[in-house]
């Protein structure tokens, strides 16, 4: 018995059609707030190309094929690992009001702050509270 996969003509088009539809529906549900992680996440998903790269490299039978195949796997692996790392980092930062302590923000330290404080603190208050 053979488990060789064989996809031809119309079958391929059917697969593409159904998947495109599924993709459209799946992504349509995602709120705008998650669009960056979503893009990064879908970027990770097409990293599956590394599997194709591995297939190609393992089947390579000439030096040129081996070299190009090597780069296919190299780039594909970069796509997968980078996409995952970036997406996971971003998603870990989303917290609702009820959830734990906020992450420390990284960024430049501000040495100027003391000067600003001195000038600001003595300003007269001008309350316009309604």
């Amino acid at each position: 018995m053979s488990y060789q996969i064989h996809i031809d003509g119309f079958v391929a088009i059917y697969i593409f059609m159904v998947t495109a539809f599924a993709g459209w529906v799946i992504i349509g549900r995602v709120p705008a707030i998650l669009h960056t992680p979503l893009m990064s996440g879908s970027n990770f998903v097409h990293g599956i190309v590394v599997v194709g790269g591995l297939f190609t490299l393992l089947n390579a039978s000439a030096p040129l094929e081996q070299v190009i195949g090597f780069f296919a796997v190299l780039l594909g692996a970069g796509n997968v690992a980078g996409g995952f790392a970036v997406t996971q980092r971003m998603l870990a930062m989303f917290k609702s009001s009820g959830q734990g302590a906020p992450h420390a923000a990284h960024g430049a330290k501000h040495a100027k702050s003391a000067k600003h404080a001195a000038s600001a603190a003595v300003k007269p208050i001008n309350p316009k509270k309604k």
Binding site: G23, T56, G69, G82, V86, G107, S113, A121
Partner: protein, 484 residues
């Protein structure tokens, strides 16, 4: 027997992987389930990569002798590629996310292109359909590779200005046409229609050269404000290329995952184009901005600068404040400082919301991520459609480092390049503070009448520094939490 078992295992694992990848994306519909979604997808990916080493048992006779070397190469490539990318993905600053995504996306496109190259050079005796699909995938993948690299360079400020040579569009069209023609000729020659004038391997090289060149040329003229759309387009391109090469390799997991991303990218691109009221075609094939020819209408009013501390204290005694963050906030890394200020306001009983425009920043949703990094809970962050009605009831609109997305010209001035783009109605708030580094124009290069409005006051300075002085001014009032 061993071949059958390997094929069975690979087929099953890939099937599960394809499901997990889809399910992972499905779970990304809410911030609550999204972190587990990416983990689910990660498990699927890991399984698929692991199973693909079983291909070792299925290789043809020609590759058998090369197998030990090939396995070594595969392991090395996996370790190096994944290692470097993982390390840089962990290390990259949140503000640099768009570049990172562009670069990783380009890698995927490059991988798809490389697979196509091996197929073409190996010339495994495929039929015309296979060849056409391979070429199409090669074309799209290569464009995605070189285009993403240019996009990365632009976002990383290595390339500062959009290149805009007159006639570039014609040149681009010509380059693309010649690429397609070379492809058609290759198919014709392979079908035995003609003996190629140039040897086949050279034709393949020329084909890839043209495709890569086109990716560069296509991306060069696209300006800053359109960058989010470009990244999204290339994401879709890579997905498509992967899907097509999946067909060539007879691997349904690649077909499904690739096409899924292709559709997703297309939808995202469309959403963004809608948010800017520009067609995708216009964004990709015409450069942004009208040049200097358009006469700016006379703008009434003047710019009224105020001290950051005054603005801060005014907001402390306001009832409701809506903050409009833009790319300037990302540049100054001021998100943490801003949230410190917001925490003070909230402790004093001020209602604070963040209003996000769909194309604020250099990537769709970049502002959301930036605020999330600072620890802003996502229920304070609202999107354009949900918040726009609230501006007219708000005491203060605080615009930080944003410009075009609050330009009222988009509503009124038909000649404006951003006419028709939905904007955040910051001008309708009772008072508007605009934090800016200088009088500069936005990425669209247009003067913003909002800045000259009677109820608008300018706070000049770096966003982070301004937030710090606002915070200190409010702290200087003493125990705000107790007063509220």
């Amino acid at each position: 027997m061993l071949i059958s078992i390997s094929q069975l295992v690979i087929g099953s694992v890939d099937l599960i992987a394809a499901f997990l990848l889809m399910f992972g994306l499905w779970r990304m519909a809410s911030p609550v389930t999204a972190p587990s979604g990416i983990l689910v997808a990660g498990v699927g990916m890991l399984a698929a990569v692991g199973a693909s080493f079983l291909y070792v048992f299925t290789v043809g006779a020609a590759a058998k002798t090369h197998l030990p070397l090939n396995i070594g190469l595969a392991v090395a490539a996996l370790l190096i590629g994944a290692g470097v990318a993982w390390w840089s993905g962990r290390k990259v600053a949140i503000t640099a996310m768009p570049q990172a995504v562009a670069l990783f996306n380009g890698m995927g496109g490059g991988a798809a292109g490389a697979i196509a190259a091996v197929e073409l050079f190996g010339n495994a005796g495929h039929g015309a359909t296979q060849l056409i699909v391979t070429l199409l995938g090669a074309l799209i993948g290569s464009i995605s590779l070189s285009g993403s690299v240019i996009a990365w360079a632009k976002l990383d400020s290595l390339l500062k200005k959009p290149v805009n040579v007159p006639g570039l569009q014609w040149l681009n069209g010509l380059v693309l046409m010649s690429g397609v023609l070379v492809g058609v000729y290759m198919v014709y020659a392979a079908a035995g229609g003609a003996t190629p004038v140039v040897a086949m391997p050279h034709l393949i090289e020329i084909f890839f050269g043209i495709a890569l060149l086109y990716g560069i040329l296509m991306t060069l003229p696209i300006g800053g404000a359109d960058m989010p759309v470009v990244i999204s387009v290339y994401n879709a391109f890579t997905g498509l290329a992967v899907g097509l090469e999946g067909f060539v390799l007879q691997n349904p997991a690649l077909m499904i995952a690739g096409m899924l991303v292709g559709a997703a990218g297309l939808l995202l691109t469309q959403l963004m184009a809608q948010a800017m009221n520009r067609s995708i075609v216009k964004i990709l094939f015409s450069s942004f901005g009208p040049g200097a020819k358009r006469k700016q209408g006379a703008i009434k009013g003047s710019l009224k600068p105020v001290q950051a501390s005054d603005a801060g204290i005014f907001m402390r005694y306001a009832k409701s404040v809506i903050i409009v963050p833009g790319y300037g906030l990302a540049v100054s890394q001021g998100q943490g400082k801003l949230y410190d200020f917001v925490k003070l306001l909230r402790a004093a009983g001020v209602s604070v919301k963040f209003a996000i425009h769909p194309v604020a920043g250099r990537m769709p949703g970049q502002m959301d991520v930036l605020l999330a990094e600072a620890g802003v809970p996502y229920d304070l962050i609202v999107q354009l459609a949900d918040v726009n009605e609230e501006f007219k009831d708000a005491d203060v609109a605080l615009v930080i480092g944003a410009n075009d997305v609050v330009n009222p010209e988009a509503r009124t001035d038909k000649t404006s390049p951003i006419y028709g783009m939905p904007i955040l109605n910051a001008d309708q708030a009772k008072k508007c503070y605009v934090v800016k580094r200088g009088d500069g124009k936005g990425y669209a290069g247009i003067v913003n009448p909002l800045f000259y409005a009677d109820n608008t006051f300018m706070v000049y300075g770096d966003a982070a520094a301004v937030c710090t002085s606002m915070t200190e001014a409010v702290r200087g009032l003493g125990a705000p939490a107790a007063a509220a």
